[in-house]
Amino acid sequence: MKIFHKITLLAGLGFILSGCTTSPTFLRPASSIAQHEANLYNNLLIMALVVFVLVEAVLVWILIRDRKKRGDDDRPPTQIYANTKLEITWTVIPVLLTGALFAMTFQTMKNVAVPAASAKDINVHVIGHQWWWEFDYPDLGFKTANELHIPVGATVQVTLDSMDVIHSFWVPQLSGKTDAVPGQTNHMWLTSNQTGVFIGQCAEFCGTEHAMMRIEVVVDSQDDFNAWVSNQQKPAAQPQTADELAGYKDFSGVCASCHSLNPAEPENKVGPNLAHLFSRSTFAGATYPLTEENLRNWLHDTQSMKPGNDMKLTLSPDEINHIYAYLKLLK
């Protein structure tokens, strides 16, 4: 078994080194869930590679050895019709392998099953929208979007719903995917054994901007998480300067029908909650870094950055200036 693990490691390493090390592969797991899934994958890969090499080697060997050679006579080769023993062998061996696969599947499913809920758990309600993710922390009393924060080591109980079509929540280094199905609440769980930012995205085709429905999970230390939570619970910042006040007015007229500034907004809005927009590092479905330039471009023309999204508006340069001035307060 030791040698197996070495080969496993090599095979896993091969995949990681093959690409850029920033790829969100579950073969670089950051949770016990992904770790179990990666181990199972690697074991399967070894089994598959053994079968692959054996069968292809026999095939190539036959092709070289049994090719019709120049100068061969035209007499047909020995006519072999069947061989019952051989046929039983190559039927029974795969059946046994099937049993092994089943046992491995069963064991891993047990290992990654959602743990029973406990009072210490963090509860998150994940809601899929075309084309962004809403994260509701019901016990902590606020909502945010696209960037999920969890404390390292915690058990995070996730309930999944969808506001429109089927989506699928997937952050490979933390866990396999679970669909967000309208009309059906699904459950999954998350945990992480290291701090850091882990990316993922919607995995079920959900319409025009399926490609820009991405996810960032920020795994914080417990202190950072607590600080983040208390910030998210605060009400949105108040406008002070003339520009900010003008921006707030424009926001109320243009943006507020879809975007809430109340972190505890009870209503299901069409767009992400913006109460603490600038506490996030990305926007537009975790697609663009949240920089001044990007956000101004977005306010100018959302459709060139995320064609087909529901935000279709035309703002004057003044309105953009004002709204931007207000938005950047929303830390």
């Binding site: 899934e37 095939l59 072999i80 019709y81 069947a82 499913m109 697609t287």
Partner: protein, 548 residues
């Protein structure tokens, strides 16, 4: 017999040349050729769509296609390859070959056969006409509800898709019934079920799969149509419908469909490998039973497409176990092909190359498929490029390579000429190298977290290099297909040799002229074994003697 006599007299009475003679024909061979040519054109269109996708994905954040265009193109690529290319290509071979292989003069219902072809053709053209009427379908070839509801897909693309699927399903259903009855009723004297050529067997099983699985698809799309156009709520959750109902109905069809696509190719390979090895198919009965076994099991595994939808773990385990079991009959087939080649005298002409390619590549599609049946691993790799890699090793390395093997193998029967060998080898190697360059890296992309069906991706996720290599592979495949097109026309312009048996083959279609006369056989042959032509050519080694 009287049915056959009537049919052949009708065929002889019809015009023999010119455009109208093809439009009016009920001759199974002409219908078969029309099926093959139409499906080949759709295949080329589907291939161009694939090429467009590969150009778009060659680099991150590409603006070559808009998301709307990309989504229409990937939907039509899948729909085309499955419903308009691979299925009708198999139907074309079935039409052309089944009567010849079983020693009959035509299909049992020649007019129904013509209806089946024309419905298929118009169904395909109808679907494609959507590009000119406000946009093609854009929700993927399995069109998950509720995305397909009018609220989320307001263009008429989905309506074209629904209507097209209904027409194509109708064509396939009557075609399949025709195959089944023909195989049961019109076998030549002595052609018992245990002497039926493997290709006929696989078409027999395929036809049953189609007849039993298509009603589920028909139901699914009809309900969707009622939802979209008449305000019903079958998939509309807000009004009490179910989002997952579609998936169950669709995959109850969709998984047998995979075997509808691959079994005929397995049949072709099972014809070609024995001929080019100079041996009978090893374990004929086991191979037949494995095809039947795959057919039955194919109906019990549909929910393995739905492991991430939140099913209880008992259900997950049941469908996982069932899916593993399919590996057993599949293994039987692969071992049987290897054993057939074992100690043969292998000739590597182009049909054999494509059949060997099938065995080598289909094996990969079988092994990576097992990963997808293992539930916890599936949770990671489903809906990623890993799945795209898997289906293409099965349907491109498998079905298409098998079909191309059949094209090279039976082209001399249909046209009286062989396709050029040199160009054929170029074609094979370009396809073989190209397909591995496109689809092997897709495994890695799936592992590295790239979902399928995204029109663009961000830089710096480690996905660029593999996507770029894949695009190069796609161009190599396109070059291979260009070589094939050249080969096709160049070879057709060569003088016909009209050899009845150019490959030294085994089955009845090679007993008659190339191309065969409208009535196929001057005299209905009498069959004594699995390889009637072999028995004739090697009386001392006849199969029926070995059986005694």
């Amino acid at each position: 017999m009287t049915v056959q006599a009537q049919n052949s007299s009708r065929i002889q009475g019809a015009a023999q040349r010119g455009f109208l003679s093809w439009v009016m024909t009920v001759d199974h061979k002409r219908i078969g050729i029309m099926y093959l040519l139409s499906a080949a054109l759709f295949f080329l269109v589907g291939g161009l769509e694939a090429l467009l996708m590969r150009i778009q994905l060659a680099q991150p954040e590409s603006k070559f296609l808009t998301p709307d265009m990309y989504n229409q193109i990937f939907t039509m690529h899948g729909t085309t390859m499955i419903f308009l290319a691979v299925m009708p290509l198999a139907a074309g071979f079935g039409n052309y070959l089944i009567p010849l292989m079983i020693g009959a003069r035509d299909m049992v219902y020649p007019k129904l056969n013509a209806l089946s072809y024309w419905t298929f053709l118009f169904g395909g053209l109808f679907m494609y006409s959507s590009f000119f009427f406000g946009g093609a379908p854009n929700d993927g070839w399995f069109s998950y509800a509720p995305l397909t509801e009018k609220l989320y897909s307001p263009s008429h693309g989905m309506d074209f898709w629904i209507m097209g699927i209904l027409l194509l399903g109708f064509a396939t259903t009557i075609g399949s019934i025709n195959f089944i009855v023909t195989i049961i009723q019109l076998r030549a004297p002595g052609m018992t079920l245990t002497r039926l050529p493997l290709f006929v067997w696989t078409m027999f099983v395929t036809s049953f799969l189609a007849v039993f699985s298509l009603p589920s698809l028909t139901t699914a799309v009809l309900l969707l149509f009622l939802d979209r156009e008449l305000g019903a709520h079958f998939y509309n959750v807000a009004q009490g419908g179910s989002a997952l109902l579609w998936q169950h109905l669709f995959w109850f069809f969709g998984h047998p469909e995979v075997y509808i696509l691959i079994l005929p190719a397995m049949g072709i390979v099972s014809e070609v490998i024995p001929v080019f090895s100079g041996k009978p198919l090893f374990g004929y009965k086991a191979v037949v039973f494995s095809a039947i076994g795959i057919g039955f099991l194919g109906f019990t595994v549909w929910a393995h497409h739905m492991f991430a939808t939140g099913m209880p773990s008992t259900t997950l385990l049941f469908f996982a176990a069932d899916s593993f079991l399919i590996g057993v009959p599949t293994g039987v087939k692969i071992f049987a092909w290897l054993a057939t080649m074992w100690k043969g005298k292998l000739r590597f002409e182009t049909p054999m190359l494509f059949s060997i390619g099938f065995v080598a590549l289909f094996l990969i599609g079988g092994l990576d498929g097992i990963h997808l049946a293992v539930v916890p691993v599936d949770w990671q790799i489903t809906d990623t490029y890993y799945v795209v890699a898997h289906i293409h090793y099965v349907l491109f390395g498998g079905a298409i390579f098998g079909i191309l093997s059949g094209v090279y193998y039976w082209f001399p029967k249909m046209s009286g000429r062989r396709l050029d060998e040199g160009l054929g080898k170029w074609h094979f190697w370009l396809m073989f190298i190209g397909m591995n360059l496109v689809f092997m890296p897709m495994h890695i992309l799936g592992i590295e977290g790239m979902p399928r069906r995204i029109y663009t991706y961000g830089a710096g996720r480690g996905w660029e290099i593999w996507n770029f290599i894949e695009t190069i592979g796609a161009i190599i495949i396109a070059a291979g297909m260009l070589v094939f097109i050249v080969n096709f026309f160049v070879s057709l312009r060569k003088e016909a040799t009209n050899k009845s048996d150019p490959w030294d083959a085994n089955t009845l279609e090679w007993k008659t002229a190339s191309p065969p006369p409208a009535y196929n056989f001057e005299e209905i042959p009498v069959v004594r074994g699995l390889r009637p032509l072999w028995d004739e050519k090697h009386p001392e080694l006849a199969d029926w003697k070995a059986a005694e």
